[in-house]
Amino acid sequence: MLVYLIRRLFNVAATLLVVSVVTFGIFFAVPKLTGSDPALMYAGRETNPTALAGIRVKMGFDKPISEQYWMFLKGVFAGRDYDAGTEVTHCAAPCFGYSFKSEAPVWETMLDRMPVTLSLALGAAVIWVIAGVATGVVSALKRRTAIDRTVMIGALAGVSLPIFFTGMVAPAIFVYGLGWLDVSNYKPLTEDPLAWLNSLILPWVTLAFLFAATYARITRATMLEVLGEDYIRTARAKGLKEGVVIRKHALRSTLTPVVTMFGLDLGGLLGGAVLTETTFNFQGLGTAAVAAISQGDLPVIMGVTMLAALFVVLANLIVDLLYAVIDPRVRLT
């Protein structure tokens, strides 16, 4: 178990390292190849040579890419000083870079944005897992009934709807049309829990609808497969109650693929629910990254990409560990 964990953690580190090299290469090297000067992105309106030179020195753009990357990597663990010759800006570890657009370390921006994305993703996740698995199970048990058909058509519609469309339709109906909810603009949980809830209901439901549809489909398919397995038949033959068979035996195996998917999906969302955040105008990690891209704020792009990758990789690891709990057949070696 311990050996397994160490090996997996090593894998996580290796994956992140590769992601960081690739991301860094693309965002810092490609502009160089296409001949655009990254310093220009920071200079704003005044592109006088002094300002540009100052930015280059401070950001390290004057150094070779490999050294710039090394400085980035070192910064993550040891912090980093941005030295303009006359004036030093310190960025404490974990330094994912320093945004000279906002004169703040990227890590601070990310910490600031994280609660928004966490609230959005976790809340929606709870809804979609419960709703998705429940409808999937019901659908499988009532196979080929009207309920099954309706649920499955609804689920298929759900996976076919783009979130940036439902994200517009939902407020159009519930906010502007029926007036049941206010315009949602994220409020921190610590400030006003009710306002927090109110601001999140619509995004949660919209986001969860999309995922719940997928989960319902997967759950139904797996459940049907599992119900045909021999050990279920054995369990039934033993005279166990149908409810017990479903809950104790069938559901457990059904959950394995669901958990895998859940890990990937949640991990992906935690790194920034780009479309949902954009549609609902939430200031989360995703919108931070999109804004950073449009402003050419390389350190922020880099930071969010790394964080997103970290979430996915960690989520995968946790999922694999969870397997052992859910499915007794799985041994971690």
Binding site: S36, D37, L40, M41, Y42, A43, G44, R45, E46, T47, N48, T50, A51, A53, G54, I55, V57, K58, A84, G85, T86, E87, T89, F100, K101, S102, E103, A104, T109, D112, V183, N185, N281, F282, Q283, T287, A291, S294, Q295, G296
Partner: protein
Amino acid sequence: MIRRKQALAITAVIAALSLTAACGGDDTKKAGGDKGDKGYSGAATGVVNASDAKGGELKLWSPQDVDFLDPARAYYGFVWNMQRLFIRQLYAYDSKPGAAGTKLVPDLADGEPVLSNDGKTYTVKIKDGVKFEDGTPITSKDFKYGVERVFAQDVLAGGPTYLIDQLDQGQKYQGPYKDTDPDKMGLKSVQTPDDHTVVFNLASANSDFKYLLAMSSSSPVPAGKDTGATYTNKPVSTGPYKVESFASGKGATFVRNENWDPKTDTIRKGLPDKITFTVTTNPDDMDQRLLSGDIDLAVDGTGVQQAAKNKILKDANLKKNADNPFTGYIRYFAFPQTVAPFDNVECRKAVIYAADPKSLQNARGGPTSGDLGANMLPPGVPGADKSYDPWNLTAGKPQEDKAKAALKACGKPDGFETTIAVRNNKAPEVKSAESLQASLAKVGIKATIDQYDGKLSSSTIGSPDNVKKKNYGIIVMGWGADYNSGAGFLQPLVDGSFIAQTGNNNYTMLDDPEVNGLFDKAAAAATPDAAAPFYTDINKKIMEKALYLPINFDKALVYHNPRLTNVYFNDSMGKIDLAVVGVAK
């Protein structure tokens, strides 16, 4: 991203005229100090809800973040307006509606500057009793230090650099951080004979210099409190409010500065107890709050979004709290002469004639987005003539016959191919480009739209080499002056000596001895009024050369909370003047 200060004067007369046109003359009250409800565009001509009542919290919102609060680095017009709350300069635009608001009055200075040495030396006395937020008196050295900081472009980039152009005079001063002088007072052209006197020595006379002294970048900064690049997070206040907190991308809180003495300040009223500034990513939500009275003002001044605009225009109750002032911007297409066939005046004319001015106006948002523009000097700048229309653009119709004739004269009777360069982050500009593209297609000119990265405009359209390489025959742009003079507006656009290798604004690459000479004559003129005819001339010269296709003189539909007091648009910036706004009745 070019965001210029909208320091353009619009005379009360013009504003009143446009107002009558926009609302069918339902506002018959005269501009002035009378109280109460003035109706649509009332604040564009006079003061709405005059009051001296103190108290309350003024809630400012903006969909755009501030660039910097640091006076040396701020360049956004709305930030300059916000800085009126907490930073003072020697001179400032008067807090009055109409043309009076474009006049500079002494702020921290004790009276007008004394000019000597053939207008090359400006000697300014500093008022008694003016203090920083910590209570230390403001001295001449603080002004000099503030000016010196602008020279430290390696650390404090972002703001205007006019002061370097005027005051470096070959010294190659590197700013206070690299200053070898122990007191960091190494800039030679600015002297501080005593604590109450600051002397600026110019290389040549420049009647616009007072405008430069009124910019944020000329604000005093105490050397002991300077934190370099991070000064933007906590600039030291000299005005009625001080920065309590500031977070980039989120907002700021301003509270009363106890060391501000209203007796020393004729410009600011300092009415609200507290001012909050909130950055939002959701402009529609902001508009919603604004219309419901939740917040007071969208301080960016670019006007409400389309959804709210339509709501306001359809509802008389909302409309009476809205204004449609000129913003001081002009929107236009420029034709670089270095890109064939735009080296030929007839081909340039063909594009101008083929364009559909009404359609271009619609692309920008219809009549509330601006008046059809016919020349390059917007109303309000001394020497402007709004009715000057050499290409008959205000008729609002494409002139296809004339366009075809011009094409023939250009030797391209079947049209030609060209590229329209447009910033990808400005939707109305992209729509304008699409409109021009559609109009040009009708006369056989095939234009491709190239959306370049808006944040890199200084190295894309601002680089003459790149313009040539990319074959940018048509460039979509907007322009507002940094300060209210013909030179401030037109010189960067058309003076040959302003052509630069990056950050160029003279897109048409005009280097005409006659035009350049006219600028020199205007600069030598004794007063702005005496200089005005030269700018009229320059405007005519460049329009006759068919170098530009003006789209409109920009306007915005701005809504304000009816509870606001002392509301009016300061013509020096085309925005509601924050210096006097209050929230208590």
